[in-house]
């Protein structure tokens, strides 16, 4: 439930960031662009509809598929969710800085040409992107894998969204309490850990389907310190990929994952340093 809340929170803040930038620009009387506002809201609605459609399709797939096919499908989706999270973190790292400027110059162009359909498409794509990522991440966390979604999960989604509104509002106050940069830095590390958790859970499924060997069945047993079958331990397992009884393959994949992330992070922050130095 905590994981569901976190994902909805972070994705909603990103979507709100996009809508917020566009809304602030359009609603600014200096730009005389108020006519663009309905297009903005239509884009939001379209984007949400696309995301909900994808979510329903995922649950529908699960209902239709039976036995092994369902296991393969769910394993694939867990791994897709992991890859998407990693891709998203690095996309935001690259484009987050220029996101506002890019969108505003695109708005100016729309305004000059007197067409607002571009706004609609821009927003619809942005919301559909965040929304469909949310749908896939939540599915990867077990959401809807039984072909339906329990009420407690909807509650987690609602809380996550309310928290996002609150966070967005706090961030809008202009860095007095905490800043966008800090927000993205902290949540991107948490997301990379969550992706590691999804990777390990996907790997466990592959091992369980006997597609991947364990190498060593059980390297050690740390269940006395932190038991991954306890409520807190299983939360840690989902959020970090922790295993109390890791197999050789679990450990190997985990090490390779973080090595890979370390290289990517170093690469992603390198150009920023150059800019600062210049």
């Amino acid at each position: 439930m905590g994981q569901v809340m976190f994902i909805v929170w972070r994705e909603s803040v990103e979507a709100l960031l996009v809508v917020g930038i566009l809304h602030a620009w359009l609603a600014n009387p200096d730009h005389g662009a108020k006519r663009g506002l309905p297009y903005l809201w239509a884009g939001v609605a379209l984007g949400i509809a696309a995301a909900v459609g994808l979510g329903a399709a995922l649950v529908g797939f699960t209902e239709v598929l039976s036995g092994d096919a369902q296991d393969y499908f769910q394993t694939a989706m867990v791994l897709v969710a992991c890859a998407l999270i990693v891709q998203m973190v690095f996309w935001m790292k690259r484009n987050g800085r220029t996101l506002k400027r890019d969108m505003e110059s695109s708005l100016q162009k729309n305004h000059d040409q007197g067409t607002w359909w571009g706004v609609l498409v821009l927003v619809a794509l942005a919301i559909a992107r965040e929304g469909s990522e949310t749908a896939i991440f939540l599915y990867g966390l077990g959401f809807g894998q039984g072909g339906s979604v329990p009420a407690s999960m909807w509650l987690a989604v609602a809380i996550g969204f309310v928290l996002a509104l609150l966070t967005f509002w706090l961030l809008q106050l202009g860095g007095k309490i905490f800043s966008w940069r800090l927000f993205f830095r902290v949540t991107e590390i948490m997301l990379l850990f969550l992706a590691a958790g999804l990777l390990e859970s996907g790997l466990d499924r592959l091992i369980s389907l006997e597609l991947v060997p364990t190498l060593v069945d059980q390297l050690w047993d740390t269940s006395a310190i932190l038991d991954d079958a306890s409520p807190f331990g299983s939360l840690v397992a989902t959020l970090t990929g922790y295993r109390a009884h890791p197999s050789g393959m679990n450990l190997l994949v985990y090490a390779v994952y973080w090595l890979f992330m370390w290289v990517l992070l170093k690469r992603a922050s390198a150009p920023a340093k150059q800019v600062k130095a210049a």
Partner: protein
């Protein structure tokens, strides 16, 4: 000891025994209650656990130790096949109702 190893090889080797021929154990999950809480199974044998969700909430049979995860809608039933186990205790739980903790004992 040798006997156990031989049995493990004999069963683990082909590893594609049909799910319906396996020793089967029933597990009922009902809104966070497990029945039974303790399942005794033979060690060194592939086994099948039939999971029934008799409750009104979705449940998730999960065991990181056994590398199994299965989400079941209310009223649904399914099964998990577990590879031959070493003698010992293996914990499982309902990921949607985490107070529900059970154990599979292999001897």
């Amino acid at each position: 000891m040798t006997a156990v190893v031989v049995t493990l090889f004999a069963l683990g080797g082909p590893s594609l025994a049909r799910a319906d021929d396996l020793p089967t154990f029933k597990l009922e999950m009902n809104n966070g209650k497990l029945n039974p809480v303790r399942i005794e199974v033979p060690a060194g044998k592939r086994i099948k656990i039939e999971v029934h969700n008799t409750g009104t909430n979705a449940v998730e049979f999960e065991s990181l130790q056994l590398r199994k995860e299965k989400v079941l809608a209310p009223g649904a039933q399914s099964f998990v096949v577990i590879a031959p186990l070493q003698p010992g205790e293996y914990k499982f739980f309902d990921d949607f109702h985490q107070q529900a903790q059970g154990v599979i004992v292999a001897r």
